[in-house]
C-alpha cells in the first residue's frame, strides 16, 4: 500500500512520567489484579465470619501491637516516598539516590516487625478456619511487602550504577513509589480485618 508521510514525530520526548508512560499503566494493571486478589481473600474472610456467629471460634484475641507498629511505619513511609517521587520527576539523581536508600530502609523496617506479627496472631493456621484466614491474609500482604522491598533494593543498587543516570530509571523510580503506595493502602483494610474485626465478636 502506498504511503503518504503526513506527521513528524521526531521532536517527541523519549520517556514520560505517570499516566503518560506505559509502565505506569502496567503497574496500575497489576495493582488492579492484585487488589482484586486482596478483595477476594477479604471477601472469603468476611463470608466465613458472617457464617459463624461466634467468629474467632473461641480463639484468643490477636495482639495488635506489632500490627499497629507496622501500620504506623507504613503510613510514615508515605511521606519520604512522595518526596522521592518529586525528585524523580525532576530527574535529580543525587536526592533520588538518597531517597531510594531511605525507602529501602523504611521497607525493611516493617518487614522486621512483620516477623513478630505472626506469633502475635495467637493462633496457628491449622487450628481452625479463623486462624487459616488470618495467616492467609497476613501472608498475602507479606508476599507483596517482600517483593516490593526486594524490588526497591535492586532499584536502589541500580541507581548507584552507571545505568541509573537515565530517564527511564527515573520513570522506574516513579513506578516504585506508586507501587509502594499500593502496598501501604492495601494493608489498612487487612490490618482492620486481622486485628480489629475479631474484637467485635
Amino acid at each position: 500500500m502506498k504511503q503518504r508521510p503526513s506527521l513528524d514525530l521526531s521532536a517527541l520526548p523519549t520517556f514520560g512520567h505517570g499516566p503518560r508512560s506505559p509502565t505506569w499503566w502496567g503497574t496500575l494493571g497489576f495493582m488492579a489484579l492484585e487488589g482484586m486478589g486482596f478483595a477476594i481473600a477479604a471477601g472469603a474472610y468476611l463470608y466465613l465470619a458472617t457464617l459463624w456467629p461466634n467468629w474467632r471460634l473461641s480463639a484468643p484475641q490477636p495482639n495488635h501491637w506489632p500490627g499497629t507498629i507496622v501500620t504506623l511505619l507504613l503510613i510514615v513511609s508515605l511521606v519520604p516516598n512522595h518526596i522521592l517521587h518529586g525528585y524523580a520527576k525532576r530527574c535529580a539523581i543525587g536526592p533520588v539516590r538518597i531517597g531510594m536508600v531511605v525507602m529501602s530502609l523504611l521497607g525493611v523496617a516493617p518487614l522486621v516487625v512483620r516477623w513478630f506479627e505472626f506469633p502475635a496472631l495467637n493462633i496457628y493456621w491449622d487450628t481452625n478456619a479463623y486462624g487459616s484466614m488470618l495467616w492467609v491474609l497476613l501472608g498475602l500482604h507479606t508476599t507483596h511487602l517482600i517483593t516490593d522491598v526486594g524490588d526497591t533494593i535492586v532499584l536502589t543498587v541500580l541507581m548507584f550504577t552507571r545505568h541509573g543516570y537515565s530517564g527511564r530509571r527515573f520513570g522506574d523510580v516513579g513506578d516504585n513509589v506508586f507501587y509502594w503506595d499500593f502496598v501501604v493502602l492495601t494493608w489498612i483494610p487487612i490490618y482492620l480485618l486481622i486485628y480489629w474485626m475479631p474484637r467485635l465478636g
Binding site: 500500500m1 521526531s10 520517556f15 503518560r20 477476594i40 493456621w125 537515565s166
Partner: protein, 658 residues
Amino acid sequence: MSSADLASERDLPPEREASVKGDIAPEHDGPRDTGMDDAGLHRWLTRTWRTPPGIIGALSSVDHKVIARRYLITAFVFLCLGGLNAVAMRIQLSGPQRGLIGPDLYNQLFTMHGVTMMFLFAVPIVQATGIYLVPLMVGTRNIAFPRLNAFSYWIYVSGGIFAWVSFALNMAPDVGWFAYVPLSGPEFAPGKRADVWAQMITYTEVSSLAVAVATIVTVFKQRAPGMSLDRIPLYVWAMLVTSFVVVFAMPAVMITSTFLILDRLVGTHIFNPAEGGDALLFQHLFWFFGHPEVYIIFLPATGMISAIIPVFARRPVFGHLGLVLSLIAVGFLSFGLWVHHMFATGLPKLGASFFTASSMMIAIPNGVQIFCWLATLWDGRPVIRTPLLFVFGFFFIFVIGGLTGVMLASVPLDLQVHDTYFVVAHFHYVLIGGSVFPLLGAAYFWFPKISGRMMSERLGRWHFWLAFIGFNAAFFPMHLVGLWGMPRRVYTYPAELGWGNINLFISAGAVVFFLSFVLFTFNLAHGALKGALAGDNPWDAGTLEWATSSPPPSYNFARIPIVTHGEPLWAEREALPVATGLRVDVRELLISTVAEAHPDIREKSATPSIWPLLAAIAVGGTFVYSIFTPWAVAWGAAPIAITLIGWFWPKGDPEDEE
C-alpha cells in the same frame, strides 16, 4: 487530521527541560526514518527488529507475532489432545455398561478434557489471537511489555506440559474441572492429583493475567495517531473488555486454587465445615471466576465476528457504538451472575431469584450484538466465503446455546437440568458455537495474513459442513438425554434406562466432529505449503492489519500509519497517511494518549532476551515443587529473584538506557 494540529496539541514535557539542564544523560541520537527510501528503511528496521538467529535467539524472541504463532500452535495441539480425550469418553459411553475405560481413568479423562479445553485451549487461543492481531490492528510495532509476553508463553506451555505429563503418570486431576471440595479436598482426594489441578490453574492464570495487562496497555497507549476511542476496531474493543474481565476474574480462581492447596498441603481449614470453614465458599469463589471465564472465551469471538461480517457484507458494521456498549455491558454483567451455577445447592430463594434476573439481563446486550450483526448483513447478498460460513454456523449454534442459557437462568427449571447432559449440551453450544466456530472462521480469515498464503476454499467448505453436521449430531441429542435423566460425568449407565441408542448416535457425531478437525489440520498444512499467495489484503478489508505485507515484517509497519476513519483502509484507498521521525537503529515505537491517541512519546521497546524463559523455568519449577512441600516457595524465591533481576537489569542496549 493534519500533522500540524497533532503537533500543536502536544506540549513539551518538563523532563525534556530537565535533560537540557544536564541532570540526565543526554540522549544519543540515531538515524531516523524521515525521508529514507523504502529499501533502506526495510534494511534498517529488519536489522533492528528481527528475532536473533540460532536456537538461543529463537528462545529469546520478543516479537509478538512469533510468540503468538507459538501460542496458537501450542493451543491447537492442546485442542487436539482435549479432543482425543473427548473421543475416548464418547467411545466408552457409546453403549450401556461398556468396560473399555474404568472410572479411575474416565474421571481423569473428563477432568483433563475440561481443564485442557478451558485453560490450555480456549483462553490461550483467544489471547494468542489478540497478541497477534491487536498490535497490528492498532498500528504499532510490538505489544507492550514484550518480554512479559514471552514469559507468559513459557509459563503457559510449561503449565500445559505439567498437566499432561501428570496425565501420563496417572497423576492427572480426577475431580472435574471445577474440582469442588470436599471431593478435591485433603480427605477425599489422596495423592497429588488435585494438587496438580490447583497449581496448573495458578500457572495458566499467571500467564493469562500477564497477557491481559499487556493487551490493555497496548490498546491504551500504543494506538496509531488518530485512532481515537470511536475508531478502535471492534475486535480490539473486544480484546480490551476481555482483558479487563481477565484482570478482575482470574485473581478469584488463583485465590481459590491457593486456598485449596493450602488446605491440602499445610492443613488450613478454609473449606472444612467442622473447624469454621465452608464447602460452599469454594463454589462462590470458583464461580465468581467461572462465569466471567465463559465471557473471556466468548467476547473475543464476538470481536472476530465483528471483524469478519463487515468485510463480507461489504460495509462497516451496523451499530458500532451499540456493539461497543454491549461488550462493556456484558463484561460488567458477567460478574453478577455466578450464583446461577449454584441453584441446586439450596440457597435462599430470594437471592436465587435476583440471580435469575441478572442472568436473564445479560441476554439483552448479547441480543443487541446479534441484531446489529444481522442488520449489517441485510445490506445485500454477502460474499459467501469460508470465514462467513463459520459465522453463519455461529448464529445457528450460538443462538440455541444462548436460549438454553436463558432456560438455565430460571431457578426452578435449572433444578431439573443442572448437572445433566442438558447442561453439557448447553455449554458446548455456547462455547463451541460461540467461540470455536468464530475461531475457525477467524483462522480462515487471518490465515493469509499470518502465513502469506490462502487456505483452500473447497476444503474449507467441506470442513465447515463436516464440523457443522458432526457438532449438531453430537450435541443436540444431549439436550434430550439430559432431560431423560442422564447426569453428566458418569462413566457408564445401565441399559434399562434406554439411553444406549441415542448415546451411540452422539458418539458417531462426536467422531465426525473430530474428523472435521483432521480435515482442518490438513487444510492448514496444505495452505501453509501450497496455498495461493495472498497479497497484503486478499479480502479487501478495512482495518490496519491488512495495510502491511502478509506475513507482516518483524517491525509490522515500515512507518506508523495515521488513522482517519474506523475502517482506515477503506477511507484511504489511494495512499495511507503515515508518521515519520522514529529512529531506525533502535526499537522505537510510538506512545500515544489514552483517549484521543495523540502522539506523545517515542519509547523504546524491549530487545530479545533469554531471561523471560529462565524466569519461567524458575517460576514453573517452584510451582511444580510446591505441590510436594510448602518450602518450595522459599527455595524457589532465590532462582526467581535472580532471573527477574537478570531480566530487568540493563545490559547497555540503547533500549535499556534511554
